[in-house]
Symmetry: D2
Subunit: 149 residues, 4 copies
């Protein structure tokens, strides 16, 4: 059972905007990078090869921005599972700028995703998270979540 | 004084992902599209030509996703000013799929931005919103905000 | 029969990079915007609802960049059909900055796409462009192409 | 003196489009990723801290697409310096899908960039590549370039 994953990304030129900092929409892309790497770390893929296939549409996303990220900054995206329900998962993300001394938390994100089933020719509908996924994921200890659940 | 703006965008191929729907990070790009068009509608630019220049870094962004958007969908991004402080503005965004009958609200976003001053060679710092901007913007009526302030 | 289309886009904040100009990868997204609007102008969609479905993977793309585009610039993306074969189409794109006096050509692009068929459970393979599409498209006059075929 | 660099990227969900493959504009972002990592490998940054600052606008970019890239594919972006002039550099990029057996070349790109100087309050103008950069870069051997110069 796992409840966290730390992905590291370097801010690329194309991630910046004319204000000279990473565009805020990319924090949401980076959250997803960590979510998908978390799944790979469990031997899974967010694009599960099951029949019928399941998907994970986002139902809520948010981010607090505390300090900017610049070109070539190295950022750790620390994913923590903050909630686990039968049909949904919630994550907290702590963005830390590694090339700062001391390391600083530059942003704090949240994401809630729902498990859905794609039956052929039918509308997708929320479903229980398959056991082979749910059995590998647990909620992070309260102390790590800092009350940010 | 203005408190709203409606921008219309068509979902492009590059906005979609392999799930066949608009990638969730693009809702945040679309919010900004409406914010900047709102400023233009007031005879302003989000990149104000004042000395020293002011900028508008985002401090909070969030979105609830209720229904997917597909390629070539026409979406109205309805911006409403939900809060106006001396140094910050908050917006609410209602995403409506226009090519649905009836039109449905597919997402609901929020954004808080802070006015900052870029003095040459100094760190940027929060500042009062210049009068020539503040004088043109007011908070939307409560009825339009649906308690979503 | 049609051989051209003019799409207009405004450069958005998220399209810019820290150099203060539109990131070069976005010229390729804008080419596609014009291509898909060209299809819509013919009563078609690039995502054709035929059985089996056809797709249009890109096999070659290029662009010459002559002048930068800035935030809020209005750019006309002028698509011209430069070649039509049984299984492929080639386009030329002239990017013109409309808010310049005189209007200047800031970039010149080319794109070649191939028509493919997605049979269920099979690899996609090049196929003849369906008649209902091919019948609506012709090559632009040589004079308009400026030898850029 | 260096003439090559190999960057490795994993295709992310946000890099894909509704056709289920990496969107073609992202190949151009990946080229830049390799270019900037090449500079870092030489102890440089593409955003040089010199006075006056120099920049590297793109004047030509192209790509041939031979096979698609899918979500979670690992791709090696092999940069080779194909031309070095007093004011410009040209690169060739070989995209190899590493998680294929045998490894296959999925795309082949080219990029030409010009060195420019940003004098305060003046238009940017092409300039000689500063010695501390030029001294570290040489053209790749003909055999590696496969006549793709």
């Amino acid at each position: 059972m796992a409840y966290e994953y730390k992905a590291v990304r370097r801010v690329e030129f194309a991630d910046t905007d004319m204000a000279g900092i990473m565009h805020y929409s990319n924090f949401f892309r980076f959250m997803e990078t960590a979510e998908h790497a978390f799944f790979r770390s469990l031997g899974l893929s967010i694009v599960a090869k099951v029949d019928p296939p399941v998907g994970w549409p986002r139902v809520h996303a948010e981010c607090d921005f505390r300090a900017p990220l610049y070109f070539e900054d190295e950022v750790e995206v620390h994913l923590l599972v903050s909630e686990k329900k039968s049909k949904s998962l919630s994550y907290v993300f702590k963005f830390r700028k590694l090339n700062a001394s001391p390391v600083i938390e530059v942003a704090h994100g949240k994401l809630t995703v729902v498990c859905v089933r794609h039956e052929k020719g039918e509308k997708m509908a929320a479903c229980n998270i398959p056991d082979f996924i749910a059995d590998k994921i647990e909620v992070a200890p309260e102390a790590l979540l800092d009350g940010s659940r």
